[in-house]
């Protein structure tokens, strides 16, 4: 029996900060940054939001589409690089909040920006083998960018959740494959507030090598060609990288641009490629083929080939679309941003 997505949901915080506002504080040229990164604003989590609240919101939205008893979810995996606790799972809080507990398993995942898709693969295994009826995989982050670091222009917040099951599929997952190496392009040590990165090393030997190799592998294994896909959904750390990767692989701007949210909400890390998938599911028609390739620093990529069903269009109105959440926004200045993100602290 096929395994696929029976429900999906997204969540993007309400607050935004513009590239100009960050550039103003650091005396940088906003036009050259916008041109270089192709990001004009990013989402900012409110002071009462974290990866768990984002994951919970996205999971509730996924349940609204799935129309299942949450107690039938036998596994919950939350992937993030901003879990609120170092020791104590995010996934148990989410599972409790959606009333999936207690006869179930749960764990937190971390693989930089691809922990969400890693959760999807684990759920596919559990559901496919019959160990769980449904599995919930979430990618959610309130990512960190050090003040003045180029990352600060893109490090954003958001997430998406996917309920994996066998019946009433919104999209069938035809296949998945991964490409993994030990490549230290981006990391954060215990106790450190902000990640470090290898500058230009994060490009060619890291993002591009893994995204391109993983995508080429799944195309080869599946026998599909680039033109068979309506949508290509790559990880999106900025607006430039996914376009270059898509071009290298032979995808057109029409195939890749519907999934690129980064220009308007920034890089939501574990949320980025899965929010891109949610945005594409929001507009896909029955029978559309989608190729998703995530990327996580460190480094690895997961590729998925999906095909949508007729049920998708019938249920997706049950929760807010990605687009409606991008448009529902409120701009804040750098001082407010610094307060919300804990960059300045009250004594």
């Amino acid at each position: 029996m096929d395994v696929g997505i029976v429900g999906y949901g997204s969540y993007i915080p309400y607050y935004r900060i513009k590239t100009e506002e960050i550039a103003r504080v650091w005396g940088a040229n906003p036009e050259s940054i916008k041109k270089g990164l192709m990001v004009s604003e990013k989402s900012v989590p409110g002071p009462d939001e974290d990866a768990v609240t984002i994951a919970t919101e996205a999971s509730r939205n996924a349940l609204a589409l799935a129309d299942i008893d949450p107690e039938k979810i036998g596994a919950v995996y939350v992937g993030s690089e901003s879990h609120p606790y170092s020791v104590k799972p995010s996934s148990t809080i989410v599972a409790e909040a959606i009333e999936a507990t207690p006869i179930m398993t749960a764990a937190d995942l971390e693989f930089a920006c691809k922990a969400g898709t890693a959760g999807m693969q684990i759920c596919m295994g559990l559901v496919g083998s019959g160990m769980a009826e449904y599995g919930l995989a979430v990618g959610a982050d309130t990512s960190q960018g050090a003040p003045g670091d180029p990352l600060e222009y893109t490090a954003a917040a958001g997430g998406a959740a996917f309920i994996i099951g066998k019946d009433n599929l919104l999209a069938k997952i035809e296949s998945t494959s991964s490409f993994t190496t030990d490549t230290p392009d981006f990391w954060r040590r215990p106790g450190e507030a902000y990640p470090k990165h290898g500058g230009r090393f994060t490009g060619e030997p890291a993002y591009f090598k893994h995204i391109v190799s993983c995508t080429e592998q799944i195309l080869k294994d599946s026998g599909y060609e680039v033109k068979d896909f309506k949508y290509f959904v790559p990880h999106q750390p900025n607006g430039k990288f996914p376009r270059i990767a898509a071009k290298k692989l032979g995808f057109t701007e029409e195939q890749v641009s519907p999934s690129l949210l980064v220009e308007r909400i920034g890089n939501t890390y574990s949320g980025a490629s899965v929010l891109g998938l949610a945005a594409v599911l929001d507009q896909a028609e029955e029978g559309d083929k989608i190729l998703l390739t995530s990327y996580g620093s460190g480094a690895g990529s997961d590729s998925f080939i999906l095909e949508t069903t007729g049920r998708l269009e019938k249920v997706r109105e049950n929760a807010p679309s990605v687009e409606s959440q991008i448009e529902h926004k409120h701009y804040i200045d750098y001082a407010t941003y610094a307060k919300y993100r804990g960059k300045i602290k009250k004594e």
């Binding site: 040229n29 470090k196 290898g198 500058g199 230009r200 090393f201 060619e204 030997p205």
Partner: protein, 386 residues
């Protein structure tokens, strides 16, 4: 004993962000290529002189001379590391040259290598800044882009040099680099691309600056007797000059003249018995666009202060009256600091052998190379002939 010295073999890696290659892989590749080009075996090499600025900071490795001989299977021959910041390669060449000139050796290798991309960019800038005066420059926050920006500002103030003229150096070097398969950048750019690139240190923008690079280059040098025996197309070292100046930029009487360049050039011209008018092509140290303008003035290719106009009018282009940086220069070919002085001699050799391909200058008799350490604390100038 005072004998002539020739280059009988050349080898270099591609320059660039060679993340998958280690320091030792780079110098083995360049050295092997040079030996193969010379048609000799490593046991025939009497000694090796290797230029490297800062492997201790970039890859945590000192005692490079032994490392190189070990991994090149060249023990027990002697090896010496030479360091003078970005002029390390030029000085390694001169030291190797002197070892033959003195009669101590018949055949030696002069090499240069640097692996700069194994550390974070902030560390790279800091490591390079150790070539400035730590107490009076770097200690107060000055880095090389900042120091060369001051030279550029002063040049603009004294001579009316424009940002467009600075940009024309970069445009010309990118055009030349587009014809060099070993160059880090092989794309052409426009004046507008330079002017609209991000500001680094006013008035120098990103495209006024040479990149951070990995790479290695090697030359086999031989005495006249050996060269004639081993090689059909030797390239002769007609002149070699080296000079020093104050380490700190602010200690100089003029910010726009590099005295070390003037003096090293004077020595090399004198030894070769020629003047700047006899030079058919030159590789100069364009770590920043302003550095190329100062160099062509200080070496006598144009009057002091006229470098901007001279470049803007195309005189330093491949078809100009005085082609400069036919390889693409440091800006485009790349600047693995310790390797740069050797790579310049390789371009000179290619031009004199007539093997420079699409960037070949016709009927070139003499080629000059100019390698600078820091903001001009050291300069090495060499003149090569057929």
């Amino acid at each position: 004993m005072n004998q002539e010295v020739a280059i009988i073999g050349i080898g270099m890696t591609k320059f660039g962000e060679l993340w998958n290659r280690s320091f030792r892989q780079l110098f083995v590749e360049a050295g092997s290529e040079a030996l193969e080009d010379a048609g000799i075996k490593s046991e025939e090499i009497g000694a090796l002189f290797g230029g490297n600025m800062s492997a201790g900071q970039f890859i945590g490795q000192e005692h490079l001379a032994s490392l190189i001989m070990d991994h090149s299977n060249m023990t027990p021959q002697p090896a010496t590391r030479v360091e003078a910041a970005c002029a390390s390669g030029g000085l390694a060449l001169r030291t190797a040259y002197m070892s033959i000139k003195s009669g101590m050796h018949d055949v030696v290798i002069a090499a240069g290598a640097e692996k700069m991309t194994d550390v974070l960019p902030s560390k790279t800038t800091g490591a390079l800044a150790t070539a400035a005066d730590q107490e009076w420059e770097a200690g107060f926050g000055a880095t090389f882009p900042g120091l060369y920006a001051m030279i550029a500002r002063r040049h603009m103030h004294e001579f009316g040099t424009t940002e467009e003229q600075l940009a024309s150096v970069s445009v010309k070097n990118h055009y030349n680099g587009s014809k060099n398969s070993k160059a880090q950048f092989q794309n052409e750019i426009t004046i507008d691309d330079v002017l609209s690139s991000p500001m680094v240190a006013d008035p120098l923008k990103l495209f006024d600056c040479s990149p951070v690079s990995d790479g290695a280059a090697a030359l086999v040098l031989a005495s006249a007797e050996k060269a004639k025996e081993l090689c059909e197309n030797p390239v002769w070292i007609a002149g070699s000059g080296q000079a020093s100046d104050t380490l700190a930029l602010h200690s100089r009487k003029s910010l726009t003249t590099l005295n070390a360049t003037v003096e090293a050039g004077r020595q090399a011209y004198k030894q070769a018995g020629i003047t700047s008018k006899d030079i058919g092509a030159a590789e100069v140290h364009d770590c920043f666009t302003i550095a190329e303008l100062c160099a062509i003035e200080d070496l006598g290719f144009c009057e002091k202060g006229d470098g901007g106009k001279f470049t803007e009018q195309g005189e330093t282009g491949l078809k100009g009256s005085m082609p400069v940086n036919t390889s693409g220069g440091l800006k485009t070919k790349g600047h693995p600091v310790g390797a740069t002085g050797i790579a310049q001699a390789i371009e000179a050799s290619l031009q004199l052998r007539g093997e420079a391909g699409d960037r070949q200058i016709d009927d070139v008799e003499y080629v000059l190379t100019h390698n600078v350490g820091g903001s001009g604390g050291t300069a090495a100038v060499h003149i090569f002939s057929r």
